[in-house]
């Protein structure tokens, strides 16, 4: 069974601060997605990483896939209250057509 562990589980920071959340596994994934989920809504895809060591940037968000494709990080620079939400990572393995394993998520609160 593939598991993804996200840390921290909860994070509360002030506007303007930087933060990093982590997604770790002992399994290798062919790709990893980061989603953001608002209460009562479905996850919204932010980015997909597929190559070990890959770094992708989305405005103030930087996503990195570990060299061994077992872990990933999401770094937010100068966080804003609009960044508040649940951040989920999800990994896919080559052998499971379309199946993604989700982590428990990191709940981020950015206070003005």
């Amino acid at each position: 069974t593939q598991l993804l562990e996200q840390s921290p589980q909860f994070l509360s920071i002030q506007e303007g601060e930087n933060l990093t959340v982590y997604c770790n596994s002992s399994s290798v994934f062919s790709s990893l997605q980061w989603y953001r989920q608002e209460p009562g809504e479905g996850p919204v895809l932010l980015v997909t990483v597929v190559t070990g060591g890959e770094v992708k940037k989305l405005k103030r968000l930087t996503f990195q896939f570990g060299d061994a494709r077992k872990d990933s990080s999401l770094h937010i620079t100068a966080a804003q209250p609009g960044d508040t939400g649940l951040y989920l990572c999800a990994g896919a393995a080559n052998t499971n057509a379309g199946k993604s394993t989700f982590g428990d998520g990191t709940t981020l609160t950015v206070k003005p």
Binding site: Q33, E41, G42, L45, A97, G98, K99, D104
Partner: protein, 114 residues
């Protein structure tokens, strides 16, 4: 922007009743998925569907569950005889590829079994 739509947004049903959750995936997508999220828990994979057949299913997706694409636009999840523990948010998702599976999720159907 194209989106996945799900109906109803909230369904309350009595234990033992059958429910059908409906989804309209993004029109040019070929891969379809159902996930569920029990309140306070992680998003769990149920089933993936491609070319009119199930590609992969989880251990949660037992004989009480079935999926169908009855026409060119709808994708449904049927639960034959609901149990209390089936109460959850059910998310439909679709993708135009399976590698990587970049899934676009609907808003979800909140199923409450009483």
């Amino acid at each position: 922007e194209p989106e996945v739509t799900q109906t109803p947004s909230h369904q309350v049903t009595q234990m033992g009743q059958e429910v059908i959750l409906r989804c309209v995936p993004i029109s040019n997508h070929l891969y379809f998925y159902w996930y569920r999220q029990i309140l306070g828990q992680k998003v769990e994979f149920l089933v993936s569907f491609y070319n009119n057949e199930i590609s992969e299913k989880s251990e949660i997706f037992d004989d009480q569950f079935s999926v169908e694409r009855p026409d060119g636009s709808n994708f449904t999840l049927k639960i034959r005889s609901t149990k209390l523990e089936d109460s959850a948010m059910y998310f439909c998702a679709s993708s135009d590829r399976d590698s990587p599976p970049e899934a676009f999720f609907g808003q979800g159907t909140r199923l409450t079994v009483v």
